[in-house]
């Protein structure tokens, strides 16, 4: 019986989408993904209800929604602690430092030979090993989470910066020289614009890394607020609906963070072929 319902919903969603896709136009473009998402949620709900899956193993999406609506104050405080304090400050510090180091590396081949391997080494450090050490150094609050995020985002940003700054072609550099452009002028007018697609690539990769780092770092000691704290505690209480609520919020916040950077990229690098629609 439950199986029949599940199959019926699946086929129904499929047929509906097939029809919508044929309609075309804006509706044909926007509706199918929405229908697909809703069908998945509905299937999840039916499977959990129909097969009486224990809420300890997998709560129904409706239960997760209820948890979000009921606990939105707690979720908001957790987002503030983990995203705004931990992830964002670590992201700004880590990406900023990597950008400055990248410029230095680009100027001095000596640093390129010395610093890149160190950056590579730092990125290979496992987060579960670094997080407890950062907690020991920087205390329990968001500062230690930001430190973990700095470690996580530094290398991807550095590599992208260095690659980007090298993207300007020799002919273009020669042209700048014939204009008697100074180093700073070459950097500002040629190298940085040419590097922009690479820089944004790094910034986009780092949005999700920052969020993961800030959440996981909270597993190793934290004040009594934060998304990682909530996830690890609520798992212990078997409040899996709350865990999924945090996961849903983390997914939405992470996508929004990524989307914001992508929008800025579109505005800044409008001239790049990849941005042409």
């Amino acid at each position: 019986m439950a199986l029949a319902e599940v199959v019926a919903v699946w086929i129904g969603g499929w047929l509906l989408n097939a029809r919508l896709a044929r309609v075309g136009g804006p509706a044909g473009r926007w509706l199918p993904p929405v229908v697909f998402g809703l069908t998945l949620l509905l299937l999840w709900e039916l499977v959990v209800r129909g097969f009486a899956v224990s809420p300890v193993l997998l709560p129904a999406p409706s239960a997760v929604l209820v948890a979000i609506l009921k606990e939105w104050r707690t979720l908001g405080r957790d987002v503030e602690q983990t995203v705004l304090r931990g992830a964002l400050s670590g992201y700004v510090i880590g990406c900023g430092a990597a950008f400055l180091v990248g410029i230095a590396v680009d100027r001095m081949p000596f640093l390129r030979a010395g610093l890149l391997p160190i950056g590579n080494f730092a990125s290979a450090l496992p987060i579960v090993g670094m997080a407890p050490i950062m907690v020991m150094w920087f205390g329990f609050d968001w500062q230690s989470k930001a430190a973990v995020v700095v470690l996580m985002v530094f290398f991807p940003m550095l590599v992208n910066t260095v690659l980007g700054l090298a993207a300007a072609e020799p002919m273009q550099r020669d042209l700048m020289r014939t204009y008697a452009a100074s180093d700073a002028q070459t950097l500002a007018k040629l190298q940085l614009p040419a590097a922009a697609p690479f820089l944004f690539n790094g910034l986009k990769i780092c949005t999700t890394l920052a969020l993961i780092g800030a959440i996981v770092a909270e597993f190793f000691g934290s004040p009594t607020v934060g998304m990682g704290f909530r996830i690890s505690t609520e798992v212990g209480r078997l409040a899996l609906d709350m865990v999924w609520a945090e996961i849903a919020v983390a997914a939405v916040v992470g996508s929004a963070f990524y989307g914001t950077v992508a929008l800025i990229e579109r505005a800044v690098t409008f001239w790049h072929p990849s941005q042409r629609v």
Partner: protein
């Protein structure tokens, strides 16, 4: 719901049908250590075999929640603490306590004297380390009994979620941290602090102790007499293991070491742990004392604004197994 029960009953019947082999899987709450010596002793000394049982002992760890293993069908019986088991019960996973080898709680708060905390009155304004994930409720209940807020205000205490080590105390990030009499307290001592430099508050003395290591099974399975009989044999053999471990603590510690597949435990630490564990299991024949249960429930129900259980649990324990195991 009806269908679920039918399925569970069918599963129980299947389990009953293969009762001749009498295989039992036990999920521990934590890694292999002297905290679970009784079960390893019963295994190694052949007490399970004498009862005709074939027992598989699965060690746990920081990422293993025994109730979840139970819900996934990975174990017949689990070792868990009562707050966690009652929370699981309220969340729709009906665990039932069938035996309680640990009479006393080993949880305590260990404070550095030089932080200025030497009595409960001096808690306000200090940072206290607490384990979360179900272990925070006795603490919250204690604080609400003392009348201290736990939101970090100057009148109350600041709570931090401590990890699985004692660093916050050594680094002076916290004035006090949670420790077990048999484990973390000795890590503090090993790190160079002397007992004279420390003040300990035992939850047992503070009247907020909750029942620790007990044996839990799924309620639906208890409807099957064959399962109850198997559990009675299991509890009887396990308690025989515990009493043997109490009498031969050093030998028991060595048995635990032999079973530690990770090789992470040391002989000195396990012998010391076994000595402390024996104090907690002493005086229990495995039968749950309803008065201890009542105190645990009361402690949990008064745990501040966000209690782990919101209503009086019903049917959370039974003497059916221990009555069968110890008929006198």
């Amino acid at each position: 719901m009806k269908r679920w029960f039918a399925g569970a009953a069918a599963a129980a019947m299947l389990a009953g049908g293969t009762a001749s082999a009498e295989a039992v899987t036990l999920q521990l709450k934590w890694v292999t250590q002297a905290q679970f010596a009784g079960y390893y002793v019963a295994q190694e000394q052949g007490f399970y075999e004498e009862e005709g049982l074939e027992v598989t002992i699965k060690p746990g760890g920081p990422d293993v929640a025994p109730p979840q293993v139970m819900a996934g069908g990975g174990a017949d019986v689990v070792v868990d603490w009562m707050p966690s088991a009652l929370a699981a019960r309220e969340k729709g996973l009906p665990l039932v306590n069938i035996a309680q080898p640990f009479k006393r709680s080993g949880m305590m708060l260990t404070c550095r004297n030089d932080s200025g905390v030497t009595a409960t009155e001096s808690f306000p304004g200090h940072t206290l380390g607490v384990w979360f994930g179900g272990n925070e409720y006795p603490f919250l209940s204690w604080m609400s009994k003392l009348g201290f807020a736990t939101d970090g205000g100057p009148e109350g205490v600041t709570v931090l979620k401590q990890g699985f080590n004692v660093d916050p105390l050594l680094q002076r990030q916290a004035a006090c941290i949670s420790t077990m009499t048999y484990n973390e307290y000795w890590q503090v001592i090993d790190a160079g602090l002397t007992p004279e430099e420390l003040t300990v508050f035992k939850y047992e003395d503070q009247g907020v102790a909750t029942l620790e290591d007990g044996l839990y099974v799924l309620e639906a399975k208890l409807a099957d007499p064959a399962f109850v009989e198997t559990m009675a044999k299991f509890v009887r053999a396990s308690m025989k293991g515990w009493k043997w471990a109490e009498e031969h603590p050093d030998d028991a510690a060595m048995i635990v070491l032999d079973n530690d597949e990770t090789g992470a435990q040391t002989e000195a630490h396990q012998k010391r742990m076994m000595g402390e564990i024996a104090k907690l299991t002493a005086g229990s024949d495995g039968t749950l004392d309803p008065a201890d249960y009542e105190r645990t429930v009361e402690t949990l129900l008064t745990a501040g604004s966000d209690p782990v259980i919101t209503k009086q649990p019903e049917g959370a324990w039974t003497h059916a197994v221990t009555d069968l195991a110890f008929p006198d």
